[in-house]
């Protein structure tokens, strides 16, 4: 199997090299950003569940 070959002059590579940082004030790693996104999802499910149980 041949692995995917990178284009020798991709447009995005130069800027992507410095993309390790999120640039966000309170969350400096991408894993931290992902954790916040998933936490917000869990929070919404709990709120919707409370609405369901509260008015069923």
């Amino acid at each position: 199997m041949n692995p995917p070959q990178a284009d020798p002059s991709p447009v995005g590579v130069a800027s992507d090299a410095k993309d390790g940082a999120t640039g966000l004030p309170w969350v400096h790693t991408w894993n931290g950003v992902y954790a916040i996104v998933i936490s917000s999802f869990v929070l919404w499910v709990l709120l919707l569940l409370a609405l369901t149980l509260g008015y069923s």
């Binding site: 991709p10 995005g12 992902y34 999802f41 919707l48």
Partner: protein
């Protein structure tokens, strides 16, 4: 609609056309035309991703879904945040590293030409069908507002979309979507506030009424496979549906691969991961509040006024008039029962509350039965009439209860949303046909100007195909569901090809190609013969394709996969 509304509507549409034409009149090269400007930031990408998905169907049909079935449709989006995290972490860095124009170019680099063509072809089929469905949405608005025939409205609005899309490129899509979304959110928020102000009950009582009629059941952990929306179908099916749509559908991939940086693309996607569930919840809640409003304010027997007027005109037997009288009397009894129910609740009389609630429920069942009879009668007398009335609820409320000027603005916003969403879809169809078929198979060496011209011609062709599908499709589903059903039947297998490419490095092109064909056949056969929630196909398709890939690769030998590439 009065003169002011028409001025606002036509003025907005004209502004959009001039704006798009002005900003897309020159294209430096193919990349500029297909990917847009290289310097767009994360917020523009995020809004563009949201705008491409949230077409006029979202804003017209979802309130109808909330009106008819309550909040349970929100579960459809439960898998989306997880899927967007995976795309941001895995898919996007690979697309950017390879600097591809379309997602399917990656399949060609990872596997072989035939697998790339199969992935692109499946995209063209399902997105071509989906494009037809979303042309249908603005046609509903104009047919209702102007009293035009639906088929004529489809042709006129479809031609506007096609002309605008062919003239514009990906740049225009990016540039205009953020302004369109601002108008749409502003219009939707205003409509919601006016609805709440016009509610003949306090918000707390409105929630009580909605809950009493089972419209606030947002989360269900039922394992019944016949139940369309549950937590499980949402998390599993919704995850795979979102992973397919945002990760492999060119209309979305095109939105975020051309950003200024990997960071901008990631933040744009994650912006949607956080935004989507509350946005869909609020749109569904708007529909639920419409339901409450029409329990306390006389609703029409049929919300699609154009179809109703036409049917009533040809009803020599007087059947519809009799049904309408019965319906109005039933609604009056229901309103009395609901008011007794609320009074009993406030006074703490639980016995009277239960009795009044039961009476209200009986009256609701009766009014629903009368609606069903009217629909059956209209279908029987004119099978061509589009009798899925839930899609017309929100539009009818706007026309009957919003002030002039705002009516025109909301109609313009719906129409503009449809244009922008359609523009992104048709642009992606044109791009994929040009890059993955025309340039790859027919004309490998040509100037950028030639490929830009070819892309415009293919966009025009797909626009006409979508228009034809919109004209001849006889929809029995709520619009938003119909769009998701088409996606669910085709997306899963395309997604599986990408999952194998990303995560099963030892499987080659031949195995995945034949597995994808077999899995797609299996899904189509199951959809035809089984009556399970369509969201399950987003799980069944990928699972079958991956399983078949492992079996076929084992059969042909794990050491041969490198030779598959060709």
């Amino acid at each position: 609609m009065n003169g002011l509304d028409l001025v606002v509507l036509l003025g907005s549409l004209l502004s959009i056309a001039v704006y798009a034409t002005w900003h897309t009149r020159r294209h430096r090269d193919l990349s500029h035309y297909l990917k847009g400007d290289e310097n767009v930031g994360w917020l523009t990408i995020g809004i563009s991703v949201a705008a491409t998905q949230a077409s006029a169907v979202t804003f017209i049909s979802t309130p109808g879904q909330g009106y008819a079935s309550g909040l349970d449709f929100v579960q459809n989006y439960f898998g989306m945040p997880l899927a967007l995290v995976l795309i941001a972490a895995v898919f996007l860095p690979i697309y950017r590293r390879l600097n591809v124009y379309t997602a399917y170019e990656y399949l060609g680099q990872r596997f072989d030409a035939k697998t790339r063509l199969l992935g692109a072809a499946l995209f063209l089929v399902q997105r071509g069908l989906g494009a037809g469905l979303t042309i249908y949405a603005p046609a509903i608005i104009l047919s209702t507002v102007l009293g035009w025939r639906l088929d004529l409205t489809i042709i006129l609005s479809g031609m506007v979309v096609i002309i605008y899309t062919v003239a514009g490129g990906s740049r225009a899509v990016h540039l205009t979507q953020k302004y369109q979304m601002s108008i749409i959110f502003g219009g939707m928020a205003t409509a919601f506030v006016i609805l709440l102000l016009k509610l003949p009950a306090h918000f707390g009582d409105a929630l009580t009424i909605a809950g009493g009629f089972h419209k606030l059941n947002a989360v269900s952990f039922s394992l019944d496979p016949d139940r369309r929306y549950t937590f499980w179908t949402g998390v599993l099916g919704g995850f795979f549906l979102a992973l397919s749509y945002f990760g492999t559908d060119q209309s979305q991939v095109q939105r975020y691969i051309g950003g200024s940086s990997l960071r901008a693309g990631r933040l744009g996607l994650l912006f949607n991961a956080v935004l989507k569930i509350p946005m869909q919840f609020l749109i569904l809640l708007l529909g639920v509040m419409l339901f409450v409003f029409y329990q306390l304010d006389q609703p029409p027997l049929f919300f699609n006024q154009a179809a109703w007027t036409q049917a009533a005109r040809h009803d020599a037997s007087g059947k519809l008039q009799a049904l309408e009288q019965d319906f109005n009397a039933t609604c009056a009894r229901k309103e009395d029962s609901i008011r007794q129910w609320l009074d009993a609740k406030h006074s703490g009389d639980h016995e009277a509350e239960a009795a009044a609630r039961a009476q209200a429920q009986a009256a609701l069942d009766r009014s629903d039965a009368l609606r069903a009879q009217a629909k059956d009668f209209m279908d029987k007398n004119d099978p061509g009439v589009k009798s899925n009335d839930a899609d017309y609820v929100f539009v009818r409320f706007i026309l009957d209860h919003l002030p002039h000027g705002l009516i025109g603005l909301l109609m313009a916003a719906f129409f503009a949303a449809a244009l922008q969403s359609k523009s992104a879809e048709l642009s992606a169809l044109g791009s994929t046909t040009t890059v993955d078929f025309y340039r790859h198979l027919l004309k490998r060496e040509a100037s950028d100007a030639h490929y830009v011209a070819a892309s415009k011609w293919f966009t025009l062709l797909w626009g006409l195909v979508a228009l034809a599908f919109a004209l001849f499709a006889n929809l029995t589903e709520n619009l938003i569901q119909a769009v998701n059903i088409v996606g669910s039947v085709f997306y899963g297998v395309v997604l599986a090809m990408f999952l194998v490419a990303f995560f099963l490095k030892r499987i080659g092109g031949t195995a995945v190609f034949w597995s994808a064909l077999a899995a797609q056949t299996l899904v189509l056969v199951m959809y035809h013969y089984l009556n399970i929630s369509y969201l399950w196909y987003n799980f069944i398709g990928p699972a079958a394709c991956i399983l078949f890939s492992l079996i076929i690769q084992t059969a042909i030998g794990w050491n041969r996969q490198g030779a598959d590439r060709g």
